[in-house]
Amino acid sequence: MVIDCHMHVRAAKDGSLDTAYCDATIEAGDLLGIDVFCVSDLQLTGPLTYDEFHGANERVKQAIARHPKRYRGYCYVNPSDPKALDEVKARIKDDGFIGIKLYNQHFIDDDIVAPILQLASDWQIPVLSHAGHPMDPTTQKLQPFISDAAHFVRAVKRFPKLILIHAHLGGGGDWEWALKHLQEAPTVYLDTAGSVIDEWMVDKAVAAIGVERILFATDMTIEGGVGKILDANLTDEQRARVLGGNFAAILDKRAVA
């Protein structure tokens, strides 16, 4: 089974689920051989209120209801919101969401994120966190609290059993810098998503941290996401692990109280 562990749904102009985009993703999956999309719905700018992330998670729930065999959900929260932990608990226990999605409101190793990470560690559910080491002034200014690989290293030292996924190696930013740091974090997983499809990138990731920690993902760059895995210098068994086996093993760890 091929699992895209980092994809998104989005809102239509009226705030409801954009069903056309939701269906187009499934169509793309059919064309390119992706069985399951693990999705969140992000608000990319401004502060993230409870109403906003609750609404975003509702849209994920609707997408799952629309294509129950093809979508799995991450619960997206702002960790500094007092209702964040309750939102996570409800989505994981009641709605069957598979994990937690964090964006760039706080560094992943910030104390304010710790209760979320503790719960994820206790329940053995994955935390997919936006990440990057941007080198351009525009991104640096827009995302002052984007976590880079060094933040991830510190987070898993504090929570050694945490299933933490560094998002989109190809999502922009200096991916070689990320790989240098992730060698120091033996429990961090790395997803391959993003619009950067640099030759040699996936092979270098495998060499740096091992094939068992590499997870296939697209983050909306679907042909590029599939293509970079097809071109990687992997055995059939290794490719199957990256394309879905590794993430399926993560989902099997779930131990929700």
């Binding site: 922009g172 760059t221 590029g224």
Partner: protein, 267 residues
Amino acid sequence: MSKYDSIFGADVIDAHTFIGNWAFRRLRRNDAAGLIAMMDQFGISRSCVASADSILYRDAHEGNKKLYDETRAHPDRFLLYATLNPAYAGWQRDLKECVDLGFKALRLYPIYHGYTLESAECLSIIDAATEAGLPVSFQCRVEDLRQRHWMDVLDNLDPEQVLGIAEQRPEATFILLESILSWPRDSDHWKRMHALPFYVECSRMTSVLGKDIETMVGALGPERVLLGTGFPFKTPSPAFLKLQCLDVDELNKRSIAGGNAQKLFVR
């Protein structure tokens, strides 16, 4: 045997490849042998190849000479871009040498080479290339700006500016590489581009979700779209997957995969 050649025909031409080094990141398979190995793996009969060295050399023509030496043993596999800097000394002589050596198109990097599209030297080299029968290509970016080396440039080339220059030189043939053109189907940009001999390589665009390649094919016509991988900077399969997923008939897919480049570069 390639997994793609039976789909796209026997004469697949990759309109966007390089040989040479990039100062800010190590590349592999970045010589003629490496490129040919990739081409054989993907069923590409010929590659339009530029010098990666020329982007950052002070004297860009040194990269052209090196490219020629590297590829001269395989004239049946390579079609050469001449990368020149019209703000540098002696470009007229260098262009003539490239034409004499059989280079097929000109490549310009205004941002890397420190001149503007509207400058007199840029217009002069476009005119000279047109006079010599060479199409003029512009690459909108080399690497994603977000991963830029601290000594690399801070901007991408704006496709709208290239379109503006093309309108000033309607007799010239333009090729745009690594652009993201997400204009709506009825945008005036497409109409302006369609009125000119303007070609677009589609490696930065998509056939699914946003479907901007489909929009471009509808607006510009399939005869103006070129397959390109960006190898060895970029991994090749995405370019083929985009063409595979593109909702056009097989004849037009084959044109994009090679027929259009054949008309453009092999004259």
